[in-house]
Every structure is written in C-alpha cells, then in structure tokens.
C-alpha cells in the first residue's frame, strides 16, 4: 500500500532553508513537492505514491547532506571561479586569436 503524503521537517540549525529547497527540488520530478519556511525549521511535503516513507526520508537526508557540502564548497570557491572566468574573458578580448 502506498502513502500519498509525506512530511519531513528540517530545523534551520541543521540546514538553511535555501539548501532544503535545493534538495527538495531534486524530488520534484517524482512527487509534487512543497517547501515551507516555518520560523525555525523547513517543512517539506511530498504528495504522490510513496511505497516506503522511511526510505524516502533516508534518501532526502542523504542528498541534503551532499547539498550542504555543495553549498559550503560553492561559498569557498565562488570568488576564485569568478576570477578565473573574468581572466579568461579578458584574455579573449585582448588576444582574440589566442588560446582558443
């Protein structure tokens, strides 16, 4: 028997709301997903045919951990990535025939 509505609550102290949204979006091809910011926590609601809610929650939390790490890496490397792209574009304008 499948369940049609599953709720997962993530306190903000565990993961920022934006990161919970990012993870929830990954499930939006399989379920109708709604994410609400409820003060100190994010509430994710999945609508659809869910065979094992526990497995869904395990999968969600595993992907959430990855997305938290991705967010940290992005924060750490974003300025460097921007510098590299700017340098590449500058060099292309300076020497349009070189390096391409």
């Amino acid at each position: 028997m499948s369940i049609h509505e599953v709720h997962i609550t993530i306190p903000h102290r565990e993961a920022a709301h934006a990161i919970v949204q990012r993870t929830a979006h990954r499930f939006s091809g399989r379920y109708t997903v709604a994410v609400a910011d409820e003060g100190d926590r994010s509430c994710v609601r999945f609508d659809g045919s869910v065979e094992t809610p526990e497995q869904l929650e395990r999968e969600f939390r595993a992907l959430l951990l990855d997305d938290m790490l991705r967010a940290r890496i992005e924060t750490e490397t974003a300025s460097l990535r921007q510098l590299i792209v700017e340098a590449a574009l500058r060099s292309a304008l300076r020497e349009p025939e070189a390096g391409a």
Partner: protein, 505 residues
C-alpha cells in the same frame, strides 16, 4: 578597479591547500565512491572517506593523493599564488566556441520531399508542391548574413525536405559563397543532408569539386529501414545503398556519412543495426533517439519510447560496438565520441546541442526556404507547427539585429548550465549543455525542469554509463574509447586508464 577580499587568496584554516572550483556526485552502482569533476573537465573518483577529508581540508598536503588532486586542478597546495592565467586558459579552451560566433549556417533550400518517414521532424511537402523552395533573392541575402558572422571556419549545410530537389539553388548558393570567399578567405565546409536517392553524376561532380561532405539516413537492415522510411515503391533501403555507393565512388568513402534514427521498432535490434553499418563499410554511427518535433511529435505515441528503454538499447549497442572494434572493425558511435572527447580532452566539442552558453543562435543560424532566420533546426520545426516564438528575423535583417533579437535574449537567459537549477551543481556540468529551444519543445519552458526532463534523464544516463566504463578502466575498452577520441586505429592505442583514475586507486 575593485579588489577581492584577501580571504579569497588565503588557504582555508591553514590546511595547507585551497579548494579549486569542483562539483561532485555518485554513480548509481557505486554509491560508496564520489566522482569529482573540476571546471577544467578533469575528474577523479574518491572513496567517501577520502572525499570528505579532501573537501573538509583534512587531507595531508604532502601526500601523493594531495599532489594527484593538485595535478587534476582540484586543489592548490601551499601559499603560493594560484596561477589564475593557467586556469583561465583551461576555461577559455573549453569555451573556445564562444569566441567564434555562429559557425554552422543551415540553408533549407526546399521543404519538398519524396519520402513520408514516420518520424520526420520536418513539416515536409509533396515533391510536386509549389512555393516551398528558397528563391534567389532570399538565398543571396542569407549569404550576406553568413559572411557577417565573425567565424573564420564556417560550415554551410543544405537541408530540406530533400535538398537535391532544389539542386540548382544549392549550386547558386555555393557559387555565390565561393565567389565572395575569394576576398573573405574563410575556411568553408559544405555539407548536404540527403537521402541520395536519384543523385546524378552531374550533382556528384559538383559536390566533388566543392569538397562536400554528404550525410544520409540509414536506419539499419532493409526491413527496419523500409519500415521507418517508406516509399510507395518499398525500396528506400536499396536506393539509399545505391546512392551511398555512387557517392563514395565520386567523393571517396570518407566523405559519405550516415545517421540512424531509432524508432520503437529499432530498439530490439541494437546488434543488427551496428553490424549493418559495419557490413556497409561505415566508420561512424550516430544512434539518435526520436525528437519531439514536427511530424515526429504526432507519431510519438506509436513509435516513441521512454528514456529507460532507449538506454537499455544503447547499453547493448555500445557493448556490441566495443566488441566489434576490438575484433578489428573501426566503427565509432558519434554521440559517445562527443561526450568522451569532452571528458578526456581539454577541448570544446563542436556539438551545438551540448554547449553552455547554448549553441542555438550563438553557434548556428538557419535560413528557412521562406527567408525566416532561426537559431536552430528545432526552432524552425516548432515554427512549422505554428509556434514562431524563436523566429529571429528574416534574411534581410542585419546579423547584429538577429543576434540581439528577442528570441536570442530568451535563449541567452536560459542557455547557461552554470546558472540553471539542477545543472549548476551537477557533476556532469563541465561536459553537458543547455538547449532552451529543446526545453521549450519538451516542457513548454525555455528554462526547463531538470527533474522531469527526458533530455536531462538521457544525458545523465549516458554520462553514468561512460563514467562507469572509465571507472572500471578495462584496458581494452579504454583503447577503443581513445581510438574514437583520437581518431586512430584501436591497434595503435596502448591500453592505459585515464590519468584521473589513478587517484582513486
């Protein structure tokens, strides 16, 4: 001038190294390993423990592992300045297409065709219909636009319908281009996409004179080909092979290629399709799934299939291709070769559908028979169904206005995988691309929705399949892949895993 904060240049928490930009993910059948890809396209597999140590700055920077990761441009050890110029060159090399402007110019010289293919993407017209050929004034204006493009290397492709039904227009366009190119001095390749049925000696002599590349459709053995591409006389397959033979005799075998389009009926025959290409002496096969355009859209219910079904077919076909290559038959799969080139070399591939920024408009301009200009063949197909939202203008619109047109604004906004939800943090982003026209055709939204996108599902499955092979590192398979990427015989390739695999060993 603005300067970055000093923290942007400092090592994190004195760990002895800085992370360089990268993405990560896992292959479905290897959940305990992490695939890490850098912006330069170099990659490695790490155990979960090693990956977390690396990302958390707990890796000893003096270890071989740290040096390997530095060699792959995934971290930078010590306090020395990061060599921005070197990383910028790597980025620029992968995005080289961005600095060329449109290099592929497609001329749809007629919509008329003598076939009634079940999967036809084009809204074709009957051979005898009038008013569906490009006129001379339109052709001359399109050539004006062609030479306004800044690209030094141009590909001019003739499509239809069946373009041979408008051969005199092709001749006029080629002669016009050749005359103007005496002063322009561009490098120009001509391509003809044709059934080759009824191609004449005079036409072949013209194609030889102008060094054409001929591309035809061959869907497999006769029963399958004739089912997919019916003619009233039921001899499409025989006529295609006859056309291929005459074209090879005139131009040389290297200048005649074939593509296969896969219908539901094709999916049961991966080995037979591959073997048929070998029997017919081709050196490349492009296993293309159906497109959601034109007449094909109406036939999808009958001929279509899910991504999973396509991938089951593709896995069998690829495994068979690898076996046959190791037996000495040199036959590449074009799509796998494109992806592998992107994964295993620092260079950009030329494939328009897998660029970021999108290839539509930025890499391709299409001149329709009626003078409309579109950013891709797919945009023209949508227009033929009545949806003209991607019409950039006409052949009489200056190049600059075409590139600044409203459809191009939409394509530019939605055509950058680095900024699209679901793409930006995807581990396969360095090798993949955005196609807002395709996203719109499939999902009625130029941005698309990756979790429910068939395009994304297929791309992801393809990358997972190829990276699975790369991770396994079988020496024979690596030789085949390298032979495809390097365009050399398998026997000339030494069996070595990609350098990146060493880091996971």
């Amino acid at each position: 001038m603005k300067f970055q904060l000093i923290s942007a240049f400092q090592s994190n928490a004195d760990s002895g190294y800085r992370l360089l930009p990268f993405r990560f993910g896992r292959l479905p059948d290897r959940p305990d390993e992490v695939l890490v890809t850098g912006d330069s396209g170099r990659f490695t597999f790490l155990s979960q423990a090693d990956f977390l140590a690396f990302a958390d700055h707990r890796l000893d920077p003096t270890t071989t592992r740290a040096r390997d990761l530095e060699g792959l441009d995934l971290l930078h050890r010590g306090d020395r300045p990061i060599p921005l110029d070197r990383h910028a060159i790597a980025w620029r090399t992968r995005k080289a297409f961005l600095f060329d402007g449109p290099s592929l110019h497609i001329f749809v010289v007629t919509l008329r065709c003598h076939h009634s293919c079940r999967y036809c993407q084009v809204s074709r017209r009957a051979e005898s219909d009038a008013g569906y050929d490009m006129d001379e004034a339109t052709a001359r204006a399109a050539v004006d636009r062609l030479f306004e493009s800044p690209a030094r290397q141009l590909t001019v492709e003739f499509q239809g319908g069946e373009p041979l039904l408008a051969f005199e227009r092709i001749r006029g366009i080629v002669e016009d281009i050749a005359a103007r190119n005496r002063s322009q001095r561009r490098t120009i390749t001509f391509v003809l996409a044709s059934t080759l049925h009824g191609v004449t000696d005079e036409q072949l002599a013209f194609f030889r004179e102008h060094r054409f590349e001929l591309s035809t459709s061959l869907d497999g053995p006769a029963a399958l080909h004739d089912l997919n591409r019916p003619l009233p006389t039921r001899e499409s397959h025989a006529r295609t092979l006859a056309g291929v033979a005459r074209a090879r005799a005139a131009l040389g075998a290297d200048h005649v290629n074939a593509l296969t389009t896969l219908t539901r009926a094709s999916l049961a025959h991966p080995e037979a399709i591959v073997d048929h290409y070998i029997e017919q002496g081709f050196t490349s096969i492009f296993l293309r799934p159906l497109s959601p355009y034109g007449f094909a859209r109406r036939g999808l219910a009958r001929q279509g299939y899910a991504t999973g079904e396509f991938m089951t077919f593709y896995r069998r076909a690829l495994a068979h291709l690898i076996r046959r290559n190791l037996e000495g038959h040199a036959l590449t799969e074009a799509y796998a070769t494109l992806l592998l080139s992107s994964i295993l070399t620092p260079f950009a591939h030329g494939y328009m559908d897998l660029r970021s920024p999108a290839g539509a408009g930025l890499g391709v301009l299409l001149y329709d028979y009626d003078g409309a200009v579109y950013p891709s063949d797919e945009a023209r197909m949508l227009a033929a169904e009545g949806d003209r939202r991607f019409r950039m203008g006409s052949v009489h619109t200056p190049y600059r206005e075409l590139l600044l047109s409203e459809p191009m604004q939409a394509i530019l906004a939605a055509g950058l995988t680095e900024g699209l939800t679901g793409c930006a943090d995807c581990v396969f982003q360095p090798y993949c691309g955005a196609d807002p026209v395709d996203a719109y055709a499939r999902q009625a939204d130029v941005y698309g929705h990756r979790p429910s996108s068939a395009f994304c599902a297929r791309q992801t499955a393809m990358f997972e399949l190829l990276f699975g092979y790369l991770r396994d590192g079988d020496a024979d398979v690596m030789r085949v892949f390298q032979s495809w990427v390097q365009r050399r015989a398998v026997a000339e390739i030494r069996g070595e895993p990609p350098e990146a695999i060493d880091a996971a060993a």
